[in-house]
Symmetry: C2
Subunit: 413 residues, 2 copies
């Protein structure tokens, strides 16, 4: 289009275009979080740095609704947090049961296989969630060491209820790992009350930050399991260090026993802490805790409901079991006669708004529209609906102009 | 001490204290790099994002002095970049020869062992470097698939010459991997001229950024080796995707074949790109390329020489073979009668300057003082010497006041 700003070249500082990111994540960051990253770096064993690390642990205990002492960050994206938990909890040959109701259930399986685990899958059709009695029966059949589940799978927008499954796992003495990257902050997640043994997340959804740090929390049973494989690496190992009896953890970078030695009192050298991402993760948690976790969940619920109401009022069909939809993302079928990818391009090029499609069997079948973190706001919802209405009208989709805004506004009371 | 600024608490935004970081890294970041991280995030498949990624690849080709198309980032600290290279190049049972002249040689061994490789070590005493004929003989004896080496090992301040070893490896058809985290930007590194097959680095040394992104480059032979183990994960795999014949790579997160699919034309979903760290890595490279790689190396050489001259003029003994010292870090013996850790605390508390000790056998024996990236400047060198002189005088170390500054200044001409 004519009238564009001049693009920067590789010799200049990068200037990203202004966008409203209403896909399944990443999302626009809260400006306070962006500012936090521009603070100067300090040394990793500076007393002010270790204080910052301890405060970050404390803040994430509130985010995860847990008392777990071992609540800290892995320096990777959320995907690395998953791998850190699985590679540290699963030794080669261990049996693991993976719940699969979308693309990210398949990812858990992929990662568990690389750990050398014996992987069994309990799958339900995309758009549904697992039932507790199915899970109980599968555990009795497979007798796994660990059950791995996603809480919110953005590929299908489904949110897996976990309280009852947590109770079952505790009773049957199976460890329960959960990837709550896409759900945390926008949907209730009670690590202690629900008996979740290990949970990892990322910043780029309802925590309102960029990708690049993976907060996680480990309960006592998970810590005990990981400690069995404790190892201190050559170059810093002394005669005072005990070696665990279990098989050495398959990754050095994601060895949670070593990362605990780093975040713990001994502060043993492992990686060089990514200080800017630490500042960022701390600020994400600080903002969310100041809002209150319950208030944040309610905000996501209201904005998600307004978006869903607006989409339905545009003569679009919502995707999946709405009673189990994540608060922070809505799936909607691309209507007959509309080119889904062309419409997404028009949304981006003409209105600077990004929405998503999905993966695998849902690619080109649904759009996914998110209301996450800083973008979980009425103006972001109403602007997205207004632009979408314009794009749908240009593709001759039959709708009643203005109905979407009215439906959304009615949710805001 | 009285007179301190009030510390912030966990409920407030973190405000790091002002420090001059003159240890072996991390270092103070160039303010332009900090500002780059505060740019707003855009979506990972946005055309402006993929342009930013391509420009970053282009900039790092200049940093690495290579034409390698596969020059990109891994979303982890530098340690993760090492693991990504080794786990992707080494299948279980593969033979690897590790050159060990410090703590980070030991780290290469630790990581290679976790890959299931058969690891042989060629070690020389700390403070020395490997000789090419030693390396050639060890290769003939071990017949490894890959030789893994550190270029600059900050634990000993030694810089391993690589040109001749690269020629030997090429001749003997052994892959050569190099960890150049601590050396790049401050010491010559010519990936193509020296036949380095795979090199990974981090931002937190002479690139002048924070830890949290690992740039790497792969030559054709390394790419061919990695492609043999190509795999596309369930959930996004289609019938058009080929599966490699080799053993699947042991890590999902560090699977360079998948990460190449993500950075390449197909842009297959893998992790969610850490956009802020990408902006940061791009700006690190942009600033260095604008200065010119040779100019940057010369700047580090001059500041390192001035620091070393200043330390020697303070009646201190330099550590290790000075003809192979890295330009950007100087090791110096802690003199008799001086409490090394107490002096480092005084440097930090009274002058807000951080210097380092070292690991293992050198802990408490030497200090390490860095002149890296943004901190490779005359004022940083002169200020560090001035404060160190005060601390040494308080511990009654015999020295000639003012001699250090004079010696350093004479290096600046």
């Amino acid at each position: 289009m004519k009238g564009q700003l001049l693009q920067t070249g590789p010799g200049e500082g990068f200037s990203p275009p202004q966008r409203l990111l209403m896909g399944p994540g990443p999302i626009n960051c809260d400006p306070r979080i962006l500012r936090a990253m521009s603070h100067q770096v300090i040394g990793q064993f500076d007393p002010d740095m270790t204080r910052c690390m301890s405060e970050t642990m404390q803040l994430y205990r509130s985010v995860f609704c847990t008392q777990n002492p071992w609540t800290f960050l892995v320096d990777s994206t959320s995907r690395g947090g998953i791998e850190a938990c699985l590679v540290s909890l699963l030794a080669p040959g261990d049996k693991v049961l993976v719940g699969d109701f979308g693309r990210f259930g398949a990812l858990l399986r992929e990662i568990a296989e690389r750990c050398g685990a014996e992987v069994e899958t309990l799958a339900v059709p995309w758009g549904e969630v697992l039932q507790p009695e199915q899970v109980a029966a599968a555990i009795d059949r497979v007798r796994p060491k660990l059950l791995a589940l996603v809480q919110g799978d953005t590929s299908t927008t489904m949110c897996q209820p976990l309280a009852e499954i947590g109770r079952i796992c505790r009773e049957k003495e199976v460890l329960l790992y959960c990837d709550a990257t896409a759900s945390i902050g926008g949907n209730e997640l009670r690590v202690d009350d629900w008996h979740l043994d290990a949970v990892s997340v990322g910043l780029q959804k309802c925590l309102g930050g960029p990708s690049g740090s993976a907060p996680l929390t480990l309960g006592d049973a998970a810590v005990a399991e990981i400690r069995k494989r404790h190892h201190v690496e050559a170059g810093i190992r002394t005669a005072d260090h005990d070696e665990g009896e279990g098989a050495r953890i398959g990754s050095n970078y994601f060895d949670l026993a070593m990362i605990m030695d780093y975040w713990g009192e001994e502060r043993l050298n492992h990686h060089t802490e990514a200080a800017s991402m630490l500042y960022c993760a701390r600020e994400c948690a600080r903002i969310l805790v100041a809002e209150g976790m319950d208030n944040a969940v309610e905000r996501h619920r209201v904005n998600g409901a307004a978006l869903a109401a607006g989409l339905a009022a545009m003569n679009l069909q919502l995707y999946g079991d709405q009673s189990h939809r994540m608060n922070n993302v809505v799936g909607v079928y691309i209507p007959d006669g509309v080119d889904g990818d062309a419409l997404r391009r028009e949304m981006l090029q003409c209105y600077a708004i990004e929405i998503g499609t999905s993966f695998g069997p849902l690619h080109g079948v649904i759009w996914r529209i998110g209301v996450m973190g800083y973008n979980s706001r009425p103006d972001a919802v109403l602007l997205t609906l207004a632009a979408l209405e314009q794009c749908l009208l240009r593709q001759r989709h039959p709708l009643s102009p203005g109905a979407a805004a009215a439906a959304a506004l009615s949710c805001y009371g």
